[in-house]
């Protein structure tokens, strides 16, 4: 977990690949994702490969450390399609042996054969989005699979030789009883995945859930209260730590040594390049997003340059400091005081002394070599993080 950016004189790079397709949108989902025919998916794949071809030259002096195929539902990719992507990446980027390559899988879209295929083409980490093991809750969320599908897929993934598995679950669902959530947590941990992500459900505008639970006071009443949510969160931490998981980030738990390197890259502000529709990148303190318009993407992916890029933002030093703080504070260990000074040439005390003093008095952060959130600070992390923004 050292924050060294450069290994052997080469800069580290993470790669994100966006697969914007799913069989059916879930009721809470506001990600860039939609159902598409097989033919459409194939056209997209070709554009994606062209984009990789065109953009790779920008990263010749980078060493790729992690690759993440996210979505949407990347497990809609056939073995051949996954192979094509990784093959192209391998052709254009020097991929070492130790690259962490994750694929997100929906239990309703894969079988044992497909999983074996993924493993064969080089995917070494599987992230299974199950969200809940209560069929009633899965129904409410609009998921396309049952709890049984999960158990089956999980076993098949192990059979297919996946030794690094993450399971995504969701807390604070509408009307969720603590007992039901506890049951999901228990079942998941008994499968002994290396990594568990626990997300609190966010009610996002524009989703079916927004109309149901976000838009009216009556709807919001159905969601667990702040207090209940906080209790669930505390219980999750307590329980998973008792099962040998360590909470290394606000929503992520892992067995020692199995932390998700790709996610860490985001929080530590390592360089990452995103390919595909709407994918986000940050390279050398410049952030941008690819276009979210499929028509534009298909037209321009093969033309190179920065045609696809939107919202290009060159981060000022102040913005870099802000990000360093609010992203780094997500990590349990916190932000390194030495690293701050090394990067910005000023001490954290000089820049944030007053804020830190106040937050410490309020019992929201603690400080030694790192500045880190206390457990109450984590509960209200948005409040704490906002304090590090310059007005």
């Amino acid at each position: 977990m050292e924050t060294e950016r450069e290994a052997g004189g080469q800069k580290e790079l993470s790669i994100y690949i966006h697969i914007p397709f799913c069989l059916k949108k879930c009721n809470y989902c506001d990600f860039l994702s939609f159902p598409a025919t097989e033919a459409e998916r194939e056209v997209y794949l070709q554009a994606l490969l062209q984009e990789i071809d065109q953009q790779a030259s920008e990263y010749t002096d980078y060493q790729v450390k992690t690759i993440f195929l996210g979505g949407g539902t990347p497990s809609l990719l056939s073995e051949q399609q996954a192979d094509a992507i990784l093959d192209r990446l391998n052709l254009r980027f020097p991929l070492g042996n130790s690259v962490e390559i994750t694929l997100e899988a929906n239990p309703g879209t894969v079988d044992g054969e497909r999983l074996k295929g993924y493993r064969r083409v080089g995917i070494n980490r599987l992230s299974i989005g199950v969200q809940s093991l209560q069929n009633q809750e899965l129904d409410l969320l609009g998921r396309i699979h049952t709890a049984t599908d999960f158990y089956r897929i999980y076993q098949e993934a192990r059979s297919a030789d996946f030794s690094n598995i993450n399971v995504d679950i969701m807390a604070a669902l509408p009307g969720q009883k603590k007992a039901a959530y506890r049951e999901t947590l228990l079942q998941v941990s008994q499968m002994k995945p290396e990594h568990i992500s626990v997300y609190s459900l966010m009610i996002e505008e524009g989703t079916p859930f927004w109309k149901e639970y976000g838009d009216s006071a009556a709807g919001r009443e159905l969601l667990p209260s702040e207090e209940e949510e906080r209790e669930m969160d505390a219980e999750t931490e307590y329980f998973l730590e008792s099962q040998g998981y360590r909470r290394y980030e606000i929503s992520n738990y892992a067995k020692e040594g199995w932390e998700c390197q790709h996610n860490l890259a985001y929080w530590k502000r390592n360089n990452y390049a995103g390919f595909g529709l709407g994918a986000a990148s940050m390279v050398q303190n410049i952030r941008w997003k690819n276009t979210s318009s499929m028509a534009d993407y298909l037209a321009d992916a093969g033309r190179g340059g920065d045609l696809l890029r939107c919202q290009i933002q060159r981060l000022s030093q102040e913005e870099q400091m802000e990000e360093f703080m609010f992203l780094g504070l997500r990590l349990t260990r916190g932000v390194s005081i030495k690293e701050f000074e090394r990067l910005f040439g000023r001490t954290m005390e000089q820049v944030y002394g007053k804020v830190i003093k106040r937050l410490r008095q309020q019992g929201l952060v603690v400080m030694d070599e790192y500045l880190a959130l206390t457990s109450y600070g984590r509960d209200i992390s948005n409040y704490v993080m906002a304090q590090f923004l310059f007005s």
Binding site: Y16, S200, M202, G274, I380, S381, A386
Partner: protein, 604 residues
């Protein structure tokens, strides 16, 4: 134009209930007389301010001179004096009417007589104006002109059977109105050989010309170089220019003489020296006595205005200074609030006036304001025999020093269709109204008369009236006087600290209800903090209502997908931005809009 024969001058105004088409008719008259082509006309020429056009109301009196070629072959000079339409500006209306010899009464063919129709007609008759009615909007499907004519005859007693039937909007019947003006409105009296006697009915400050006085010459004449005197304020000045009103512009002329309406500029620095209603005379040859009816306008409603950003205090002061140049009714003096810092206690003619000033400050001067709860002037009689006129609740003496208090009472007239009488009476009852009587206008409509405390109607009475009558009730009031009342100061404590800007005076019987609602409202407005915040309402140190803002327990954004941190950053920025619009009271941050929310306690 000094040569205009006095007998060919018609000085008139148009009076109407709000929305009955006064300004539209004025536009048509101006258009018809060829002063402007319709292409040049912006809708409603006389409503100058953006705000007036947007709200469809007239705030400042406007005047225009037009030439009409009548059917008798003669050329007539019309001076159309447009009057403000709202009860807040009653005094200005009354002075404008005094400048006229007659009035055109516009009545909506569908709605008939409304409260302000009556109020305006009575006001016009009080000023001895000849009034003739015009039935407008006859092309509406719901128009019932015959009923309305009968109503005018029955209720007001004006001959209405031959009233012009018009649609101002579509230009129908305008010619008829113009002819009626020639024949039904008398030519002005007075003689140009008498000593100068001119009525000021408006004035405005122009950065080039200085103060411009709008006046009606009753007797005598005035021209450049005349040394004039304002009889009430005593101010003297030498006339620089006289002239009359083109649409949207001033046209200088040689001389103004008896019967004419025009403007005078002189070496006057302050509009306060040219009070509306005052009489101008020739300093060298003064008239014997001023014209009747002058009174000093007094503010009825007070509130604190504070810049949202404390550093903008000087900007607010400058803006108020400038606004006051054109609005002598606006009063202000500096005050300090523990909660809000430096600001001004401002006096207004009424709530509409307050809203207009507030909007103009925000729009024209780009200021972000925090307004405290509006109040009226209370009379506090102290045990030591002293009497204070209280405009700021914070200055209320200790209860032991108070012998008694009085509050202003108004006479209110509410016109309502019979089906809503019950709910409107209920409303007046809730607002401590004293029922005086009811008159039926016709079978379906009645005029309710009530005495109401002014402080019960300055918040949201008008809105409540509209919502309880589905928009049909109309309302007019005038000040009756002061009466003793059981009043208390309601204090709000946030986290045990009194917030002076939230205190207000209320009748003892309503204190509990108001206090409870305030606490509820503030509970919704104040964001959760790291600690629990009690919100209390107290009267004389005794807590009468309480709510609690619970401590913040959970505020986490879990998902941060695919390295796209823009949304997370936006959320944090929003949080940070929200903090900027907060006022720090002790260790509690209160959003600025919480101070305003107390104005809208009845919107649930």
């Amino acid at each position: 134009m000094a040569g205009t024969e006095q007998s060919k001058i018609r000085n008139f105004c148009i009076i109407a209930h709000i929305d009955h088409g006064k300004s539209t008719l004025a536009d048509r008259i101006i258009e018809k007389t060829g002063l402007l082509t319709s292409r040049e006309m912006q809708a409603q020429v006389l409503d100058n301010m953006d705000l007036e056009r947007e709200r469809g109301i007239t705030i400042k009196a406007q005047t225009v001179r037009i030439i009409y070629q009548a059917q008798d072959g003669e050329e007539y000079v019309f001076n159309l004096i447009d009057t403000p339409g709202h009860v807040d500006f009653n005094y200005e209306v009354s002075r404008s009417l005094a400048a006229c010899d007659g009035a055109v009464l516009v009545v909506d063919a569908a709605q008939g007589i409304e409260a302000q129709t009556l109020a305006n007609v009575y006001l016009a008759l009080d000023h001895d104006l000849d009034v003739f009615p015009v039935i407008n909007k006859i092309d509406l499907p719901s128009a019932d002109p015959q009923r309305v004519k009968d109503e005018i005859e029955d209720v007001i007693g004006l001959e209405a059977q031959d009233a012009p039937m018009i649609s101002a909007k579509n230009g129908i019947g305008i010619e008829e109105v113009l002819e009626a003006i020639v024949h039904k409105i008398p030519d002005p009296e007075g003689s140009m050989d008498n000593p100068l006697q001119a009525l000021i009915f408006d004035s405005l400050y122009d950065s080039y010309k200085g103060v411009i006085v709008f006046c009606r010459i009753k007797e005598g004449r005035v021209k450049k170089g005349t040394r004039i005197q304002m009889m009430a304020t005593g101010a003297k000045a030498e006339v620089v220019e006289v002239g009359y009103f083109g649409p949207g512009q001033f046209i200088p002329c040689e001389e103004l003489s008896a019967g004419m309406v025009g403007y005078i500029t002189a070496s006057i620095k302050n509009v306060k020296d040219t009070a509306v209603g005052d009489t101008i005379t020739d300093a060298a040859n003064p008239c014997k006595e001023p014209l009747p009816g002058y009174k000093k306008v007094n503010s009825m409603v007070y509130c604190g205005l504070y810049p949202a950003d404390g550093a903008k205090y000087p900007d607010l002061r400058d803006a108020l200074e400038k606004l006051q140049l054109n609005d002598a009714a606006l009063q202000y003096e500096p005050e300090t609030s523990i909660a809000l810092g430096f600001g001004f206690r401002c006096g207004f003619l009424g709530l509409l006036h307050l809203e207009i000033i507030q909007e103009r400050l925000e729009r024209e001067y780009n200021l972000d304001l925090v307004t405290t709860a509006p109040g009226v002037i209370y009379r506090v009689y102290k045990t030591n025999g002293e009497m204070i006129e209280l405009t700021n609740p914070a200055n209320l003496p200790e209860p032991t020093e108070i012998e008694r208090m009085e509050e202003p009472i108004v006479n209110a007239e509410i016109m309502v269709t019979t089906e809503f009488i019950g709910s409107i009476m209920e409303l007046c009852q809730e607002r401590r109204g004293r029922y005086l009587g009811m008159e039926y206008m016709e079978e379906t409509r009645a005029l309710l008369k009530y005495e109401l405390p002014l402080n019960e109607i300055i918040y949201d009475f008008f809105d409540a009236l509209k919502s309880r009558s589905r928009g049909y009730a109309s309302f007019d009031y005038d000040l009756k006087g002061y009466e003793e009342s059981k009043l208390v100061k309601l204090d709000i404590l946030i986290n045990k600290e009194e917030v002076d800007a939230l205190s207000f005076i209320v009748h003892a019987d309503s204190a509990y209800e108001r206090g409870r609602r305030m606490c509820e409202k503030l509970k919704d407005e104040i964001p959760r903090h790291l600690f629990e915040i009690p919100i209390q309402a107290a009267v004389g140190g005794k807590v009468i209502a309480r709510e609690t803002v619970k401590a913040m327990r959970k505020d986490v954004l879990a998902k941060c997908y695919g390295g796209d941190i823009t949304r997370k950053k936006k959320l944090l920025e929003k949080q940070k931005e929200g903090k900027k619009r907060m006022r720090q009271i002790g260790n509690v941050e209160i959003p600025q809009k919480a101070f305003m929310s107390v104005l809208k306690l009845d919107d649930r």
